[in-house]
Amino acid sequence: MLPKQFDYYAPKSLSEALDLLSKKDDAKLLAGGQSLIPMMKLRLATPGTIIDISRIPDIRGINRKGDSVYIGSMERISEIASDKEVSLLLPALCDAASCIADTQVRDMGTIGGNIANADPSNDMPVVVLAYGAKLNVFSKSGSRNESSDSFFTGPYSTKVNSDEILASVEFNVKKARHGSAYSRVDRQVGDYALAACAAYLELDDNGRLSTVRIAASGCSDRAIRLEESEAVMLGKAPSKKLIKSASEKAYSSSKVEDSYYANAETKRRALSHVVEDALLMAVKRIR
């Protein structure tokens, strides 16, 4: 089907976009459109106004500034997947960006759209949680940084209000020895993940895990941190056995239910597999 008719604006600045958002009741932001346009074609979404933010220069780019990597919300997934600095400094982000949907969708889709849309099975929220990234949100009254831990509030729901714009994501690159990775089991080719996990680990001078962040999708109504699995590993030296217990903890503490695409047991097994896989890769990458 065709989308329902709408008014269309393509502002050239954040302030112009925010102004439009505040004036129009029934508006949706258009970034890459790879989630929004399919929904509009099915008329699951029928915004009266579309505000295309693809022509705002401030929200593009991948920039290293000191200890942080700033990625504009309009940055295309495929650009992130092929960025050398991202693959070296934020390998879990590179891994995840390479698995979203397919080539064509990755060329249009954006990191901001994937985060702000917050489909429970989206990949970027999981990565953002594992890295403890900060989300930079603009409103008419100014900008603020949101912590990733409290950012995802439910299915398709984040701390970005309907009159605000997610402008960029800030990843802090730590000096401590660390390793990170992303692992994903597909539902089917080009589809959402059945389960996915991003792991971020830091090692202290005694070879013990001083930071353990394990985030996952496919086990809740949003991307979450697996706190019980993290507790299993924190303060200990990494080993295959330790990783196995963390993944078994993920299996046993998972509160999934049957759904149309998989039953609970399948989801639990997929989850424990991606937890184990991501942790093994993250440990291997510790540098």
Partner: protein, 156 residues
Amino acid sequence: MKEAKPKIKINGKDYSATVEPRQLLVHFIRDSAGLTGTHIGCDTSNCGACTVLLDGKPVKSCTVLSVQADGHEITTIEGLSKDGSMDPMQKAFIEDNGLQCGFCTPGMIMEANYVLKKNPHATEAEIRKGLDGNLCRCTGYVGILKAIRSVQEKKK
């Protein structure tokens, strides 16, 4: 605005039309520009029959609004043949039975060319991954892979 007038360069030629903002790029290409080589297969962003290059990168034109492509450059299947002669991938698809009904073929060829351009030494697994967004109901992908591999071989 309730009306839009996107200007889009397709295969090196400028096109412009007054359209509703909700017009999909695939309809601009097929109806406003009259280039019907790009197909609509599924309407749900799955099949990739509508694949074209937007500023050199493959996108599903059924999942892009014409207005998003305003001021940008598109290459469609029609843009591959220079002066009436086919490009190597088109020739290979014919010689190696890369098509039966031909409906997925334009999108498949656009994507195949991009996969090899991005990674000339792609393995079969990497080629298959690159084609994740292009579905074929006829061939079982055997002839398609064969055609792509033969183009890859010839380029060596």
